[in-house]
């Protein structure tokens, strides 16, 4: 690989951080998505309102604003809470990485909840009635009946969301996380070669989204292997 003014390794390290970000956000995104979807489909009106307003709020507010709010606001909130508990003034810093993860999980979770809601509604009601008739408890029904099928119905939506997630990690560079775009910006500034560095950054992102698309397509084929024949 050509050495990019001796910064090729730096860019690869940035790529590693981007991958770390994506993989750290993913489980939280799925968790928030499942919680949000369950709230939207809940029997209780209060929970439904919370679930719906979560999506409406996040859908209308730019991701960048959420990231900035959590990065700047989160530090103050944690500091206040620490002062309440400890009773004295303390200095707390939330690492930019984790505030970024929190912001992206919150944002992507809202979109994931829509995906999971649709997937849950796609499960035939007869199967759930049959499971109830067999004497399964609701948690058992969720694990044995809903979850394995949820996977298949939700995969196309998750494919899309993961693409968006990869691209959204670039926004965290704004609060100083050393991922691809941040490394590129530093390189562009010190070597006075912005075109080269941003071109490399874009190619790296393009490679990531292409790989993600490929992997998800394979997973989709695999998840519907019992169905495709029918």
């Amino acid at each position: 690989m050509f050495d990019l003014y001796g910064r090729g390794w730096q860019m690869l390290e940035g790529g590693l951080v981007t991958v770390q970000l994506c993989l750290t956000v993913l489980p939280f995104m799925i968790l928030f998505g499942l919680l949000g979807a369950s709230a939207k489909l809940s029997r209780y009106k209060a929970l439904r309102i919370i679930g719906e307003s979560y999506t409406v709020l996040i859908r209308g507010i730019p991701e960048l604003l959420v990231i900035l709010l959590i990065y700047f606001g989160g530090t103050i909130a944690v500091q206040k809470i620490a002062e309440l508990i400890g009773g004295e003034e303390v200095r707390v810093d939330i690492p930019a990485f984790w505030s970024g993860v929190a912001a992206l999980a919150l944002v992507q979770g809202a979109f994931a909840s829509e995906v999971f809601r649709a997937a849950m509604q796609a499960i035939p009601i007869g199967q759930i009635e049959a499971a109830t008739a067999c004497g399964m408890t609701p948690p058992q029904i969720f694990i044995r009946i809903k979850l394995p099928q949820l996977w298949r119905f939700a995969l196309p939506g998750l494919n899309n969301l993961f693409q968006v997630l990869i691209k959204d990690t670039a926004l965290i560079s704004v609060v100083g996380v050393e991922e691809i775009l941040r490394k590129a910006a530093v390189g562009a500034g010190t070597e006075k070669a912005p075109f080269t560095f941003y071109l490399v950054a874009m190619l790296m992102f393009l490679a990531f989204t292409t790989v993600s698309l490929f992997v998800f397509n394979r997973l989709e084929k695999r998840a519907s292997r019992g169905i495709a024949r029918a």
Binding site: L65, S173, F195, M202
Partner: protein, 248 residues
């Protein structure tokens, strides 16, 4: 807590208002010019000729596969530097425009929006029922007339919900202009935070303004959807219960 909010809203209201105007401006230009650019891209994309398809495919693939913020930096810092390296450009009258981040933002947003919308339009064009296109051809319409009278009106009907979504995404995308020193809504909020160290008040105020814009956009686009689907509504009324009572 509320004193701080009122303080931010009264002392910095002009910043937020200017930011709001700039956000709306960026949004309107991106959506209008993005849509205009998307139409030929979408038509080329559904072409049967592979090499005609390849150009919009590559364009859409690159713009949808990379982060908008990277495209913006590429355009503003990368291309901006290439331009500033041209001999004597800094004395040329165009230099005032060529160093202004505004034009780089607009260009990036227009291209990005065009890529997303072209993909939506491609789906819309391909979903126009084949029979209607065949009927148009049987009536002797030229390809141009077919597009104008049959395919486009149908396409807009089909894509409108997705198109609305995309406009809202473009609105959110305009917040990235703040990363290249533009003072739109997010930029104004960031400046207020830098001045007052009140992140909640400033960012939440900006967030609420975004939500209000989204509310009005959704509302307005729903109205246009009704207009686009006016043919269906008329059919519905004919068979509807209100009319049935009247004709008997």
């Amino acid at each position: 807590m509320f004193e701080d909010l009122i303080y931010v809203l009264t002392k910095y209201d002009s910043w937020l208002w200017q930011g709001f105007l700039l956000t709306i401006q960026l949004l309107a230009v991106s959506v209008v010019f993005g849509s205009i650019l998307a139409i030929p891209l979408a038509i080329a994309r559904v072409s049967k000729l592979v090499w005609v398809q390849a150009v919009p495919f590559a364009f859409i693939y690159v713009f949808r596969g990379t982060p908008l913020i990277a495209q913006l930096f590429m355009m503003y810092y990368g291309c901006g530097q290439l331009i500033s390296n041209i001999d004597g450009i800094q004395d040329h009258w165009t230099w005032t425009y060529l160093r202004d981040p505004y034009w780089y933002c607009l260009l990036t947003f227009v291209l990005n929006t065009a890529a997303y919308m072209a993909e939506i339009m491609r789906g819309g064009i391909q979903n126009v029922p084949n029979g209607e296109i065949e009927a148009a051809r049987a009536c002797g319409m030229t390809p141009f007339t077919t597009y104008r009278r049959i395919i486009f009106p149908r396409m807009w009907q089909i894509i409108w919900p997705a198109y609305t979504n995309d406009v809202i995404f473009t609105l959110k995308a305009t917040s990235l202009a703040s990363t290249v020193t533009m003072m739109e809504l997010t930029g104004a909020a960031r400046k207020i935070v830098a001045r007052t160290a009140l992140p909640y008040e400033a960012f939440i105020s900006a967030g609420v303004i975004y939500l209000i814009i989204v509310y009005f956009l959704t509302f307005g686009f729903k109205g246009i959807e009704k207009y686009l689907r006016r043919n269906e509504r008329r059919e519905g009324q004919k068979s509807g219960p209100a009319k049935a009572g009247g004709t008997v």
